[in-house]
């Protein structure tokens, strides 16, 4: 199936990013219940899920070309967003091998990997890339292997080295992040980089998650969803660029909140890498305006309840304090209070037009 890419959409300045109806319906909505609390919400990363976003190890969608272009722009301005410690070279090749194989298998109409022993040729047609190289010899690629391949994938990636019964974040490509810094976190242990998260430490979430991940097996990846909210469809909400996006939080009004405020969902995946024994952590970011989310009946109602009843510590940590009430007020008219089934599937195959909703709202 050919993906209809939208190569010219932007995630900054005029923010021309938008989801097609199909993209809204495949959004990985993160709330199976009316209440949200931290948990070890990890499940096997096997093909299939509530929407097609879960169908492949690495999801490629209509925003692929534009996101890769946005990543290149961020790196041009700030090369420190990609950082890999020298002992992670085996993990770099692991990542390249995994993503190339997955893309070529999942999307043969767009990507082709040809191998003769260790002589490989990689074709990425959407980005117009064709390179031949020797697997394992970094001098035959135009960029280091991890940077080379993650510039061609949506979402952020980090590399965790496993030693001393702990995980160390010893590499990453991080340009689409929800306010955390690779440059600051590099080299930290599992509990150190999760330090700022409220409530979850006390609940033992990170102790259990670490024990689980230390035993993660090759060939049995896992996934979880995480979420926050972002004003404007901006991928790069980094601490480094806070002055550029932080003030956007003051621009939300009851009139524009539906279009301006986006639910930001990370489809996080964890793969044991076979050659290095490191773990690849994929953080695939999806953005959807709350106006579009409310076009899916069950999602509009549920998002209203989750935001309305959100634990204040979590609401604060996720940076929603300034606009949460406005979002709740916007969503309230969509919620008749009826009981909703557990789960995140949209349960409808088409969307009503936007204009109808505006009048209702």
């Amino acid at each position: 199936m050919n993906i209809p890419f939208k190569p010219n959409e932007t995630f900054r300045d005029d923010y021309s990013y938008a989801n097609s109806d199909a993209a809204v319906l495949r959004f990985p909505f993160p709330f199976p219940d009316d209440n949200y609390m931290y948990s070890v919400n990890i499940e096997p990363h096997v093909p299939g899920g509530p929407t097609p976003a879960f169908d492949n190890p690495f999801d490629v969608d209509e925003h692929y070309v534009a996101e890769c272009r946005e990543r290149a722009k961020v790196l041009e301005q700030d090369p420190s967003r990609c950082k890999v410690l020298p002992h992670m070279m085996a993990a770099e090749w692991d990542t390249l091998e995994l993503i190339m194989e997955s893309f070529a298998t999942s999307y043969p109409e767009h990507f082709t990997l040809t191998r003769e022993g260790i002589n490989w040729t990689w074709e990425n047609r959407p980005l117009g890339i064709r390179d031949s190289f020797t697997f394992g010899d970094a001098s035959t690629l135009p960029l280091p292997p991890f940077e080379y391949i993650t510039r061609q994938a949506q979402g952020d990636f980090t590399l965790q080295d496993q030693r001393e019964d702990n995980l160390f974040i010893d590499g990453g490509m991080v340009t689409t992040q929800a306010d955390w810094s690779m440059d600051f976190n590099v080299g930290m242990t599992f509990h150190q980089w999760h330090g700022p998260v409220p409530l979850a430490h006390e609940k033992g979430v990170f102790d259990r998650a670490l024990k689980f991940l230390l035993r993660l097996q090759y060939g049995a990846p896992v996934r979880r969803l995480n979420w926050t909210m972002t004003v404007n469809p901006r991928l790069d909400t980094s601490p480094e660029n806070y002055p550029q996006w932080g003030p956007d939080r003051t621009t939300v009004t009851p009139e524009n909140v539906g279009r301006k405020l986006h639910l930001r969902v990370e489809l996080q995946s964890l793969f044991r890498l076979p050659r290095s024994n490191a773990i690849l952590f994929g953080i695939r970011c999806y953005l959807c305006s709350i106006e579009d989310l409310a076009r899916v009946e069950i999602w509009g109602k549920r998002l209203h309840r989750v935001l309305r009843d959100l634990n204040p510590d979590i609401a604060d940590y996720k940076g929603t304090t300034r606009y949460r009430e406005m979002a709740v007020a916007y969503l309230a008219p969509f919620d008749d209070g009826a009981a909703l089934p557990t789960g995140t599937a949209p349960r409808q195959s088409t969307l009503p037009p936007r204009s109808t909703l505006t009048s209702r709202g």
Binding site: G117, R163, A209, V222
Partner: protein, 316 residues
Amino acid sequence: MMAQTIALRVAAVTPLSPTLKAFTFVPAAGGLVPPSGPGAHLRLFLRDGAKLHKNAYSLIANPADRSHLSIIVRRVAASKGGSAFLHEQVGEGDVIEAGLPANLFPVTRTARRHLMVSGGIGVTPFLAYIAAFAAEGTPWQLHHFCRPDEREVFAALLAPYAGGSLHIHCDGTLDGLDAALRRQPLGTHLYTCGPESLMGAVLGQAQALGWPKVRLHSESFGGAVAGGEPFIAVLKRSGIEVAVDAETGLLDAIEAAGVEAPCLCRGGACGQCLIEVADGVPEHRDHFLDAEERASNRFIMTCVSRSRTPRLVLDL
């Protein structure tokens, strides 16, 4: 959920000594073998008539081109298990089922220098280690302990690295190791693989000399083997009795019986599969229950835990 398996065809069997044979495998269906790294092992599922042996063997190489997988198997004296089966009944062209390579003995990538100590066939993971160190240019030293009559066999296996820091000892003592343990530069990691008695002695000596624990590593296939004693799970609400055999997990067995049970991570961490125990004593293997909950034996995490009693009655 069953772990993934692959069908491997035996491409070559090479006798190395009266009790050692090297086996090389390629994918039965063609294509590439799964990638692996130094220290990884392969679990073979050997069907010997009605018996099923599940044996784990260290991979002796991790070829970048993924053309093959190789192991060396010692035929254990008086073995009625997998090693005798491999030695006597498996030949070129045979197809064997295997798990995906897994690694419980990985290289520490931040080490500045690697000191390896092996006993007998315990040298196999280090054949893969040395190849990686040689390729990366990381300094290494290997001390190998074996019987005098096998010196030539192991010297031949290590011949490609004969220019490196290789020491083969056949005097029946660990005396040859003492000097090496005493004068390693800071940042050296020690790895040992071989008989339990050798690994215990090496680690004990290193600790006595002040080596930090985080720099000591030993091979153990303990975690490679799941399962345990068979038992019967009685599902109170469904009125079904599920036989859980030695190799199958409780949750897998419940699902195979057609009963839907809650679950999420399937690794004992998320807490979703918690079920109340009405009778019997669970063998807790999860990371979720706290000490008090464990001691009460009122709950079980079905995805990883088993039973200490022949019958376990669940509120399911």
